[in-house]
């Protein structure tokens, strides 16, 4: 990199590049980049934003939008920055009159047949056409003719709607389906200004990653059907978080309007999901939101229907029930089922309370598996924190251990069962008849599940989207999940519920926040050495492997 001495902008001494680097000038300013870096990326490193539509760092270069035309010293014609690799000593100009005029020309061409239906377009507010026409456009139209018309509101796929009139034929979506999902549903048809993106009859856009075509569409041509007309994007509050639909832990933005999640979109993390996420993850919030909420503690005595209770009464009741079993049958008559969908912080406090304070000897983590791992992102393991459970000392998800516990419950050997974030009854892991021999079924959950319905004590927890915490993904990367929603009920984070329960068993520790819990985890677990919520930041960090 250049040293601090001032550099003559006209004849600068270019810094000496390393062996795999080149140094060049962009608008007179020197920069050193890796060989092969295109001029757009090099400019971006200097904070110079060259506009573009068709270029996407995750896709092959198409060079068709022509928006990123730039001037290169000694090259007579303007060149496109996306297809121009940085070379040693080159001098690039991104803001000459010629460049600006060409950009204005391209903008004008892109808009002549564009419907300009921004008021009803879901892309409005995050549209490349809007953004660049404000920055580079002419400001008025010289096009007096009839616009070309094309298909509108076509269901091009299960969850994707296509508006051909808005399309600028950048082919990002086509390249995505060819190169990333490799599902090849989209193609370019016809030619000239009749060119149109389309599918083959009977083969709609329907791959596990189809939503990414919407994300990378720089205009409003492809929209995510479930999000259509839900909210203007400028009213959305985005929170950087992590998807919990499988063990990959794709980085996402959670977009919230009126305290409801409106959509999930992928957030770039080159170590995890690059630019993408799967459709199942993208839609995962809908199913969670649809489940009936457990919004306050419940207590059930005898065969009666459960009654609402205060937190104190409910926790006290749970503690009493468990203490009774321990005193009558010993700790060996207790067991717990804990979910790998919980945060590392939840799991840690669960271990401290259930194992260390209450003395529950057996904890099982149920597996949730479906389908197979694919070559891109999707994992068979549908829990976001199986690695976290293992690192915390609760063991890997293990169907055998659940069966064992279920058998012991049936046989009357286990009389007290604590279930956190799982629904063993609903999932068929535990038979209804098991309840007959249980003296205490204590459940912590977000929703009213079948298990919650029959629990002696049910404690409402906050869940994904409402809590701060971390997950450890399948590759051992610790990443933060964030609270995007405001709770509208009496629920509490699992770690706080369990901490409160633990206090009733003489465990003194109190935590102010999930970050605080995490700090304690770090102290005791070498795998997490050096980490903190702050250190993890937006992109997370790998655990230490021994």
């Amino acid at each position: 990199m250049p040293d601090s001495k001032p550099i003559d902008p006209i004849h600068p001494e270019l810094p000496t590049p390393g062996s795999d680097e080149v140094s060049l000038l962009i608008d007179g300013r020197p920069i050193v980049v890796k060989k092969g870096t295109n001029v757009l990326e090099a400019a971006a490193r200097l904070g110079v934003q060259v506009p573009y539509y068709c270029y996407h760092p995750g896709l092959s270069v198409a060079g068709n939008c022509r928006m990123c035309l730039i001037e290169i010293e000694k090259v007579p014609k303007l060149q496109i920055g996306c297809a121009t690799p940085s070379t040693q000593g080159m001098s690039v100009k991104t803001n000459t009159e010629r460049v600006l005029e060409s950009r204005q020309g391209i903008m004008e061409f892109l808009l002549i047949n564009h419907p300009l239906d921004c008021p009803i377009c879901d892309q409005a507010g995050e549209c490349g056409l809007q953004q660049y026409s404000a920055e580079h456009g002419r400001g008025f139209s010289r096009f007096e003719e009839e616009k070309e018309h094309d298909a509108k509101r076509e269901a091009i796929g299960r969850d994707v709607t296509f508006d051909a009139e808005r399309c600028i034929k950048c082919t990002r979506c086509v390249r995505f389906c060819d190169e990333i999902s490799q599902s090849h549903e989209l193609g370019l048809f016809e030619r000239s200004d009749h060119s149109i993106i389309g599918t083959f009859p009977g083969r709609p856009l329907d791959n596990p990653y189809s939503g990414n075509t919407v994300d990378i569409c720089p205009v409003g041509a492809l929209t995510w059907t479930p999000f259509r007309f839900k909210a203007r994007v400028w009213f959305l509050k985005n929170t950087p978080s992590v998807c919990a639909a499988c063990a990959r832990g794709c980085n996402i933005e959670v977009a919230v309007y009126k305290n409801r999640i409106q959509r999930l979109t992928p957030r770039e993390n080159m170590e995890v999901n690059r630019y993408w996420m799967c459709d199942a993850g993208r839609s995962s919030y809908e199913e969670i939101a649809a489940r009936p909420r457990l919004d306050r503690p419940r207590v059930r005595t005898g065969g009666e229907a459960p009654c609402a209770a205060s937190w104190d009464d409910a926790l006290e009741g749970a503690a009493e029930l468990l203490k009774g079993i321990v005193s009558r049958h010993g700790t060996k008559a207790t067991a717990a089922i804990v979910s790998a969908r919980l945060t590392t912080e939840d799991l840690y406090v669960a271990r401290r309370t259930l194992v260390d304070a209450i003395g529950i000897p057996r904890i099982a983590v149920p597996p949730h598996e479906e389908g197979e791992d694919d070559d891109l992102l999707i994992r068979r393991d549908k829990t976001p924190n199986a690695r976290g459970a293992e690192l915390i000392g609760l063991g890997r998800p293990d169907a055998g251990r659940i069966k064992e516990i279920a058998g012991d419950v049936l046989a009357g050997r286990v009389r007290g069962l604590v279930v956190i974030g799982e629904d063993p009854l609903g999932d068929g892991l535990l038979a209804d008849s098991a309840l007959d021999s249980l003296e205490a079924l204590i459940v912590v959950d977000r929703s009213v599940t079948r298990t919650v319905e029959v629990a002696h004590v049910a404690l409402p927890s906050r869940a994904w989207g409402e809590v701060e915490g971390t997950y450890v993904n399948c590759e051992g990367r610790v990443q933060r999940t964030r609270a995007a929603l405001r709770p509208e009920n009496e629920s509490e984070p699992v770690w706080r519920v369990l901490s409160d329960l633990g206090r009733r068993f003489g465990r003194p520790s109190e935590y102010a926040s999930a970050a605080h819990v995490f700090d304690e985890i770090v102290e005791g677990q070498p795998a997490f050495e050096g980490l903190s919520h702050k250190v993890l930041g937006r992109l997370g960090a790998p655990v230490k492997v021994e």
Binding site: H184, E185, L186, G187, L188, F189, E190, R191, G198, T199, F200, P201, G202, R203
Partner: protein, 156 residues
């Protein structure tokens, strides 16, 4: 799949070995299919996509790019008249007008009996013979309305 006749299928197999990469066989294979069927249907596209290991949507995109591939049946006599400048300078408009009047269809249309399709096409690269038409690939040159009538009278 019996999308094409056995002979066409065999010829397409031969094509696959003709080129260093089998993808190149697409255009000639489409010509073979069109020769057999008169046009290229979605079924045919799926068939040829399977032969060449490409996606059907790719084949459909290729078909739609080239003007000589048809996705609908054309008339028994496919009349293509050049409309570009060199022919226009020599009066192709009046030849086209005459054709439209005689056949009772406009450019881009097929007569109801399926006998004639009329199409105005871009430069056929025979400007010294302007105005000219191609009928099923055969050329008729230096036309005027009278000569057009003579040509059409001879056709079945």
């Amino acid at each position: 799949m019996s999308a094409v006749r056995e002979e066409t299928d065999r010829k397409i197999d031969e094509l696959l070995g003709t080129f260093p990469r089998k993808g190149s066989a697409l255009l000639p294979a489409l010509f073979l299919i069109q020769e057999e069927k008169g046009f290229i249907s979605p079924d045919s596209m799926e068939y040829v996509a399977g032969k060449l290991d490409v996606s059907p949507v790719f084949v459909a995109g290729v078909v739609s790019f080239y003007t000589m591939f048809y996705t609908r049946p054309v008339g028994r006599h496919h009349i293509q008249i050049c409309r570009t400048l060199a022919c226009a300078l020599r009066g192709c408009r009046s030849v086209l007008a005459h054709l439209e009047q005689r056949l009772g269809v406009g450019a881009g249309e097929t007569t109801p009996d399926g006998k004639f399709s009329l199409e105005a096409v871009e430069c056929l690269g025979a400007c010294d013979k302007a105005p000219l038409i191609q009928i099923n690939g055969e050329e008729y040159e230096l036309l005027d309305p009278k000569k057009v009538d003579e040509v059409l009278d001879r056709l079945e």
